[in-house]
Amino acid sequence: MIKALGYFLEIIKGGLITVRHFVTNMWFHTLKVLGLKAKRRGAVTIQYPEEKKELAARHRSLHRLLRREDGKPRCVSCLLCVTVCPSECISVEAAEDPDSEIQKVPAKFIIDLSRCCFCGFCVEACPEDAIRMDTGKIEVAEYRRADLIYDLDKLLK
């Protein structure tokens, strides 16, 4: 009997917690609706398209390819990113560069973002620091799949 009563008491206490949340949050919501200044907001929600959260410094966003000082892509198409990519979204085709110091340059560098899982392994694997995921672009959505296939020009931008 006492045990049952204790149980009942705990139920009431639990209910009071939600009531407390309701009352305090409602109070701040009401203050906001009335246009009054409040210490905090009634909800922790971030209203995404209107408010945006600042990205962390190490956030992995859309890829970009870096250039050398002379404007050529840094990429030497060693295919290590292709090797390491778990979703097989990168395809690189190599070509000869007349400059014997560079030798190997990408003729094609395509990232299929519709497959990409944004793991960042390509950035880790790159021996030339040619690819980075620091553009801060996270809204990568298109109406057509073909638009999600990024080629060399698009990635160098």
Binding site: V76, S77, C78, L79, L80, V82, T83, C85, E88, C89, I90, S91, A94, A95, E96, S100, E101, Q103, K104, I110, D112, P127, E128
Partner: protein, 514 residues
Amino acid sequence: MPKIFIDDRAVEVAEGLTLLQAAESVGIPIPHFCYHPAFPPEGSCRMCLVEIEGLPKLELACSTVVKEGLRVRTMSPKVVEARKSVLEFLLAEHPLDCPICDKAGECKLQDYFEEYGLFKSQFKEAKEKREKKFKLGRNLILDRERCILCTRCVRFLNEITKTEDAGILNRGIHSEVGIFESEFIDNNYSGNLAQICPVGAITDTDFRFKTRVWFLESRESICPLCSRGCNIIMDSHAGYPRTLPTRRVYRVRARQNLDVNFHWICDYGRYGYAYLDEGREDRLVWKKGDRETRLSWDKAAQILSEKIRSLVHLRKNSRIGIVLHTNLTNEELFLADRVFRKGLGVEKLFLADPPPGKGDEFLLTADRTANRRGLQEVGLPVQAPDLKALSGLDLLLIFGHYLAAGTSPSDLKNALEKVETKALFASHKSGLDGLVDFVIPVPVIAEKNGSLTNIDGRVQPFVAGLSFAGDGIAEWRALLDLARELKVEHKYFSRLASPEAIYRALRKEIPFFK
């Protein structure tokens, strides 16, 4: 048989072997760059140093001949330290551009550094700049920065091709591999240079930058491009990554077989793999007038055997003809003999082959088909395809697309128009496609199992290295299916369900194949 001790293991080895060969024969690998079994030892890389009890200094395993009672240590601390030092000196001038080096992944320098090194370079000086893109030969590019001066290439040109095109020029730090009088290497075996180079110094323009070696899957096969039957390795795309493949086979390498091709293959075979993907037949079609219907092999076999059966019933066996070629395996030629000549009494067997090319004294033969010797040994009485004889037939089974070569298209057309039913079993598209009723795609040698007999009478079995993707059928299977449909010696052929079973029958019935 001297008895020596390698790492405290007593082994008996043949007289005259070097320590390195002796150790390898008992499964103890000794790292080396310049040693190659085809050449006499050079001893220039110093990587194979081993410790011999009683001698004050380390000795070269590649050039020390075994002697009774030698006690050798291959992994003692002193040896490992020496290997580290050798590697350090080799790497002092090495550019370390592994990411763009085609050898990466199968490079000995990389492997040994993984195994013994992983040390930090003590050299602070800038590396020597050398030419990275020296055109060494027709298909060869030399990167002098990567070169470790093992002289394997020089020795190959001296010993094997005997052209003596290249040598080590200059001295000391300036020494480099060079060719004389700027005439670059152009012989039929130059592709082997890229294969024997232990590092990425000599690269092959055919393979250069196309892919990375770890994407490739190595499959053993036999080169069908001439009657030598060289043993090869086909490096084909392994399916990963999905985005890469532009072709199936990326390169062909020699596979060691001291009885046939030693360690080498010719450039004709090495670079002649384009036929695997280009111009292949991939659709099984039945042409009636202008209409083309796609059908399955089972259906085609029914129709064909129906026509054959009606001719046999009317005792018109003499009006059936078979055109064969010598790129068929022993098994297939044997089956053609058993099914058509012995089983159905077909006497009109023709042979249409690709025209012979120019051979050389070493490996390449003039005969550009793989199995002419096999045809002889199986004992098929074949005749040259006489257009007149062909036009007098009612049914013609054409194996191979070689009939089109050597005759004028209009004559062939006129001849074949008189034949009522013509079926073509071809791996490649040709002018014959438009002249026949059935086009049945078949695999090439690399895509099927079987055996070939080379020019010296050596029977070499092989298994499929590539998958056959078309909707056709292998010839041996097609012949067996026809035999089954025609109910020819059912009991005999029902046992021959695989090339291996056919080969067993072949061995039993033809003394040559024993």
